[in-house]
Amino acid sequence: MVDPTPDPIDQTYRDAEILFTEQAERSARRARVLAAVARDRGLDPVERQTLAPRFTSRYGWLVAASVMVASGYLVLRFLPMQQLGSPPIAQTGAVKPAQKNEMTAALTPPAPVPDLPEPAPAVPTPNASDRKPIVTHERTASSSKTAVSGASPPPTAMIAPSPPIAATPPPPAIAAAPPPAMVEAAPPPPMAARLAAPPPPAAAPAPALTTDAAKPMGELGTNLGNELRAAARAGRTAEVQELLDRHIPVDSADTNGETALMKSVRADQPATAALLIRYGASLDKKNNAGFSARDLATQVDDPALKRALGLQP
């Protein structure tokens, strides 16, 4: 079939779209998408298919809970024996971290390349599960009523994709620090030595924040405004504060005119919203649809949120 002749209305539309093309937004989008792809490629497809159903199935939480209970049982069961110096039991406990390391190794991304940013480390952080910018899960397309075209069929896997492991990582308790019995392979020191030794350090600082804080600004992403809004939406107050302390504009908006405060209000994150307000976030700045954070707050039935915004005593 011969394509119809060009119509002036086509060029009218193209000309109009040029006015709405922001290079900065496009660059930010590019960085975000390529980073997501890089992270996604960090997980081998075979591993993804193997692991995804296990942890993202409907009863994934049950599996995770069972693992935790079993781990706890092993700790209680074998810890006393291990403290008595039973080598075989200590070895039994030492096997498990190796298995977990294999899993985290599968999640560990490969070496970076200039155009695709280096994926984030796979070591889980307390907030790793709710990081928004990296949308790695697939929206289900299996319900599509449209038949697959014979001429250009997309891959079967694309029609009914299964979400990868990275979409819903297991609870931190599983992949994070193993139980004490698994860590303590060596027998405890004598009591005298323990008394003479300096006290152990206090609880370790939050790993995610520490890791990010140690990075220079450039490594946090080319568009820190996106990071800020994603953190605000997910309620990662510490990360929001860190970004704000780096002088990221508190009212920076995305392509839809949405600010971090609007994101936190929509997601009903009172603590994050309160923090943003303290840093001077505007309640009255409007998004492209003409709604302000104040307007959005009226749609959320949460007195705590309204108090955080100062809209209610």
């Binding site: 079939m1 539309y13 109009a16 496009r26 975000r32 998408v33 997309p154 994709p161």
Partner: protein, 193 residues
């Protein structure tokens, strides 16, 4: 000829990416990013707030299933827009946003070329916004055909493959879309005086 070269180049880039060349993916992305994003954003219309997410998901799908892409069956562009289109339609289904069909198709007639475009006459952001809104107001099937043809530069045959209709239907939808746009814009000009 040029289009064939572009098709080959896309396939080569995707193959290089599958082989481990990540920069090839970035180059492929840069070639199609803008048109793909505009396609998703305008197809979403009032639900455009999710365009960034769907755009990212589309490229993630490209990355994940790159190895299964067969250039003998379809061009990369057709494959990409098939993915993007399905993301949008799935999104509509989930959101229960169903304004897919309009009865306007039966009553509209083709209108002759009106000559100079409105944009040439008044290059203002308001006019541009009105044009974009007019596109977003088109019935979904017309909108996607129009966007695939104008924004993505696909032929009617490829559009027909992607949208799973006949080429004649694609042609009709494009004609109706153009007619609607002209009508909407002329109405606006009449209102503005």
């Amino acid at each position: 000829m040029g289009q064939d070269q572009a098709v080959d180049e896309d396939s080569e880039l995707l193959r290089a990416f599958v082989a481990g060349d990540r920069q090839a993916f970035a180059r492929l992305y840069d070639k199609h990013d803008q048109a793909c994003f505009q396609f998703i954003r305008r197809l979403l219309g009032s639900a455009g707030a999710d365009a960034e997410d769907l755009h990212q998901e589309s490229w993630l799908a490209v990355s994940r299933y790159a190895a299964s892409f067969d250039p003998r069956k379809a061009s990369f562009a057709a494959w990409l827009y098939t993915i993007a289109r399905r993301k949008v339609w799935d999104h509509f289904r989930k959101q229960k946003i169903m304004h897919l069909v309009s009865g306007q198709e039966d009553v509209m007639a083709e209108v002759p070329d009106p000559g100079p475009t409105p944009f040439q006459q008044t290059e203002s952001r308001e006019t541009a916004l009105a044009i974009v809104k007019a596109v977003e107001a088109l019935p979904l099937v017309q909108r996607e055909t129009f966007l695939l043809f104008v924004e993505c530069g696909l032929s009617l045959e490829k559009i027909a493959e992607i949208t799973e209709v006949s080429a004649e239907t694609s042609k009709s939808r494009l004609r109706y879309a153009r007619t609607s746009l002209r009508r909407l814009l002329s109405e606006r000009e009449a209102i503005d005086g």
